[in-house]
């Protein structure tokens, strides 16, 4: 039997202070970067896709790699001097992002912008055929609508999981899990700022998946806590938490390994279009693991400390109290878990 990290007795929780400092530093650094981006890109802290800002994006594929200057010049000459020109993946692919012009016709322009640039390109860079691989255009109203929808999706998934957790576990667990999820969103935002990744609807989907995944992890550990508390050992919640984390450690390592293998495959092989998604997922594996131990676990302890159960002073904060309190509060949940 091949075993890794079997029967470990690491004191994970004791490191919570350094963990907290580390993650807060990461988040603060990320948000400072957001501020820097905002100052540099006219208040656009996050690199949002045209889906959210409105505007036009055209991906051109050239037969041979052109020089970046030539592409830039051609775009300028085509009359889109404010456009953002970047390579996309390799040097044969260029992404041209045009911000919405004032007026309403922006959306209609996607295809003509592409066609127009290609026309100028063919004149300026003869013998290097450019084709429009993709053209997207979003009117400003749709953009703000999609933004609202994305925010709604994130908030709603929060609410829904909170309700589910409240139903399955007691509220302390639910609150701890949701704070862990909020932490994941913050670190992911910091990560997005550091990598300057473009935020599209797909990336929002990735963020939600990361939240779900991290929640998975938290639930697995909490489930073990719940079970160990029921065993009525005279252990403090602190010890129970540590033991539960150690007991679920082999599972965590293995599952993270398989999921990370899948994300690596996506990151390396699935191409440029889906790459921001892959990056967020890859990062999510780490932040999810971290937050289920150090955020969810630490917050649970803190809540327990702050609002101890009213089951009597002598058993305050002990495993027994937690278990009994739980049973009284949530008889249905215990029955349902079988």
């Amino acid at each position: 039997m091949l075993r890794i990290l079997h029967d470990t007795k690491f004191d994970f929780i004791s490191h919570w202070k350094s963990a907290a400092i580390g993650t807060i530093a990461f988040i603060v650094l990320g948000f400072i970067l957001l501020g820097v981006h905002a100052a540099r890109h006219n208040g656009q802290a996050l690199n949002q896709s045209v889906e959210f800002t409105g505007g036009t994006v055209v991906q051109l594929t050239f037969e041979n790699p052109p020089s970046a200057d030539a592409v830039r010049n051609a775009v300028d000459q085509a009359g889109f001097s404010g456009a953002e020109v970047t390579t996309f993946g390799d040097s044969r692919n260029y992404l041209i992002k045009v911000q919405p012009q004032e007026g309403v016709k922006a959306a209609a322009n996607a295809d003509s912008v592409g066609a127009h640039i290609v026309q100028v390109m063919t004149q300026r860079i003869p013998g290097n055929q450019a084709t429009v691989a993709r053209a997207e255009s979003v009117g400003p109203r749709v953009g703000s609508e999609l933004k609202t929808r994305a925010m709604m999706a994130i908030l709603l998934s929060f609410a829904v999981t909170l309700i589910y957790l409240a139903f399955r576990f007691e509220w302390r667990f639910g609150v701890a899990a949701v704070i862990a999820s909020a932490h994941d969103i913050l670190t992911t935002l910091a990560f997005l700022a550091m990598m300057r990744l473009e935020i599209s609807l797909t990336v929002v989907a990735a963020i939600l998946t990361v939240i779900g995944y991290s929640l998975n992890d938290t639930i697995i550990i909490f489930d073990r806590v719940r079970e160990n508390l029921k065993k009525q050992r005279k252990e403090s919640l602190y010890e129970v938490l540590n033991r539960s984390i150690n007991e679920t450690l082999p599972r965590s390592v293995l599952t993270h390994a398989t999921v990370f293998a899948a994300t690596l495959a996506l990151l390396i092989f699935a191409g440029e279009v889906i790459r921001p998604f892959s990056w967020v997922m890859a990062f999510g594996v780490f932040t999810g693991t971290f937050s289920s131990i150090y955020v969810a676990g630490a917050i649970l302890l803190w809540i327990e400390h702050k609002w101890p159960r009213a089951t009597g002073a002598e058993t305050k904060g002990t495993a027994k109290a937690l278990a009994e309190g739980r049973r009284r509060e949530q008889p249905a949940a215990t029955a349902g878990s079988r």
């Binding site: 039997m1 091949l2 309403v104 016709k105 959306a107 209609a108 295809d111 084709t131 691989a133 993709r134 053209a135 997207e136 255009s137 979003v138 009117g139 109203r141 749709v142 999609l146 929808r149 999706a153 709603l156 998934s157 829904v160 999981t161 589910y164 957790l165 399955r168 797909t202 989907a205 939600l208 939240i211 779900g212 995944y213 929640l215 998975n216 639930i219 697995i220 489930d223 073990r224 079970e227 082999p250 599972r251 599952t255 390994a257 398989t258 999921v259 990370f260 293998a261 899948a262 994300t263 495959a265 996506l266 092989f269 699935a270 191409g271 279009v273 889906i274 997922m281 878990s337 079988r338």
Partner: protein
């Protein structure tokens, strides 16, 4: 459940899955390189691919309220009516598997897979196709109204510095143009001064004199040059925005001759290296509209080039004959969506049920599209494109290939990890994983879900996550074995103890995916669907299928003392 039934259930699920995924012949109507439609029979696995994989055009349309505010309930009603028209047009366009549907209350979404010319698709759905036939003015009414128009423009403060500029330089070309036009051989091409004098002689010489005098100074009148026929005016292309701005003003519109409209034409004319656009003064009330149209078809005519021939319904034909009979010798403007198509022809006699629209220099494809939109009928409101996505077929294919490669590699990695770590039990999990892939794909095909690139990514991810339930169970079995339980009991207990964690964690993921499905658009919806299908398939395989594998193994090797896990 007895073991026999377990095995039968699994086999049954596999058979159903294979049935759903079995490649079948699909008849597709596609547009070939020649632009003509033809049927093609393709044999493929019945998994629908989204536009981002297939290549094609996506359009979201909304009511254009940029010119006037339209209340929300009216918009909703207009969208409902427009939906039918757009659907008829797209069906007429003929590419199979096109989708036209309402999104929310105020939007229409059109998806045309494989469409390589997004601009054409856009034209097809955006064009209002409101056709009307109006008689052009022959009385010089505009010339008489010019003083008032100039005054109104001045009062409204519409004339800006640019307009003043144009008025100063307008004098010279005016004369030049006049000369050019009179030298033109067509009898109908009459220069400004002459028409003005003609009408003046007939009507009111004082007014005409006034109009001539104001011609030089007025911001409105200085933009216009008399065109080649009555009621036709040329406007330098550079002045067109200014004139359009004037005409957009309600006070200016009110000052136009009563019962008349000023409508731009489609054609531009070049005179002395300067481009002019034609405007026409036409009767406000059309003699007939496209409502009476019964059929339109594209054609090539040796004299007029590309044309669209149309026939009117019986009632329309009667009306048309009556009206044209009254207007013999007049000019009739064919107005499509507020633009005069070509030059208004002269009515030589009463016209019956047939007519034609000349397409100017445009090609047969444009004539085809115009015939199509005329047949489908006019849109009740002007629509505008709010969102477009077009993906070239090569990018889609590239995405499929890359997605497939990522899938294969991630499956291989997961298989290796499971086999190395769990040995025999890992093998059972891999067997479960194979069925997982089969079931997930079958579920997607069965529910007619659309596979998108994020969907493929979600599938790849879910392969990594699918083994999580197995891992949870295996770790539990190990723990039970470690406590000295027999193999059979350890397996039983392992499955039982792992259940709450598996259920809780998967339910929370399903909830997140459901929210995504509700709020996501195309590709993201595809992602949510794959995720949900994947979770259900993974629950079935890890809890039920792998358990059955264990039971089968226990049956074969009765009294096994060790388990490779």
């Amino acid at each position: 459940m007895p073991l026999k039934w377990r095995v039968l259930t699994i086999i049954g699920l596999c058979l159903v899955s294979v049935f759903f995924l079995f490649p079948r012949n699909v008849k597709q109507r596609v547009r070939g390189a020649d632009g003509a439609l033809h049927d093609e029979t393709v044999r493929h696995v019945p998994l629908r691919r989204g536009l981002d994989l297939e290549g094609g055009t996506y359009l979201a349309l909304e009511v254009d309220d940029s010119k006037q505010a339209i209340p929300a309930d009216k918009k909703k009603d207009a969208i409902d009516r427009a939906l039918k028209t757009v659907r008829t047009r797209i069906e007429g366009y003929g590419v199979s598997e096109s989708v036209v549907q309402k999104q929310g209350d105020d939007r229409i979404v059109v998806q045309i897979p494989g469409e390589k010319d997004p601009e054409r698709a856009r034209q097809l759905v955006e064009q209002q196709a409101f056709l009307q036939f109006n008689i052009t003015d022959k009385t010089g009414a505009l010339e008489r109204a010019l003083p008032k128009l100039d005054q109104v423009v001045k009062q409204r403060g519409l004339a800006t510095a640019t307009a003043a500029d144009t008025s100063t330089k307008a004098g010279a070309p005016n004369k030049a143009l006049q000369g050019l036009l009179t030298s033109g051989d067509t009898a109908k091409k009459v220069a400004l001064g002459k028409t003005a004098k003609d009408s003046a002689a007939k009507k009111d010489s004082a007014a005409a004199a006034d109009s001539l005098k104001l011609q030089a100074g007025g911001a409105f009148s200085s933009l216009l040059q008399q065109g080649g026929m009555p009621g036709e005016y040329y406007v330098a292309t550079t002045d067109v925005p200014t004139l359009d701005k004037f005409l957009a003003d309600s006070a200016v519109r009110a000052a136009l001759p009563p019962g008349k409209d000023m409508v731009p034409g489609t054609d531009s004319t070049s005179l002395q290296n300067k481009w002019y656009k034609a405007y026409y003064l036409v009767d406000h009330n059309p003699i007939i509209t496209g409502d009476y149209l019964s059929n339109a078809r594209p054609n090539q005519s040796p004299t007029d080039g590309t044309i669209v021939e149309f026939s009117l319904s019986n009632e329309g034909g009667r009306r048309f004959r009556n009206e044209t009979g009254k207007h013999i010798g007049d000019y009739m403007a064919i107005i499509l969506d507020g633009r005069v198509m070509g030059r208004p022809p002269v009515i030589q006699g009463a016209i019956g049920t047939h007519g034609q629209i000349t397409m100017g220099g445009k090609g047969l494809a444009d004539a085809q599209d115009l015939a199509l939109v005329l047949n489908a009928g006019a849109l009740p409101v002007q629509l505008r494109v709010a969102e477009t996505h077009s993906i070239g077929p090569s990018l889609g294919e590239d995405s499929i290939n890359k997605g497939l490669r990522a899938t294969i590699i991630s499956v291989a990695l997961v298989v290796v990890i499971m086999l190395v770590y769990y040995r025999f039990s890992g093998l059972l999990a891999v067997g479960g994983l194979a069925l997982y892939v089969l079931y997930t794909l079958a579920a997607l095909a069965g529910f007619d879900a659309v596979l998108t690139l994020p969907g493929i990514a979600g599938f790849v991810l879910s392969i990594g996550m699918a083994v999580d339930a197995n891992v949870l169970i295996f770790e539990r079995i190990r723990e039970e074995l470690g406590r000295g339980k027999t193999v059979r009991t350890a397996i039983d207990e392992g499955f039982r103890h792992a259940m709450p964690a598996i259920v809780d964690s998967n339910v929370s993921t399903i909830l997140t995916a459901a929210v995504l499905y509700q709020y996501g658009t195309g590709p993201v919806k595809g992602f949510a669907v794959t995720l949900i299908a994947g979770i259900f398939a993974s629950l079935i395989t890890s809890i039920f299928v792998v358990r059955t594998f264990y039971l089968l193994w226990l049956n074969r090797s009765r009294g096994a003392q060790t388990l490779s896990i």
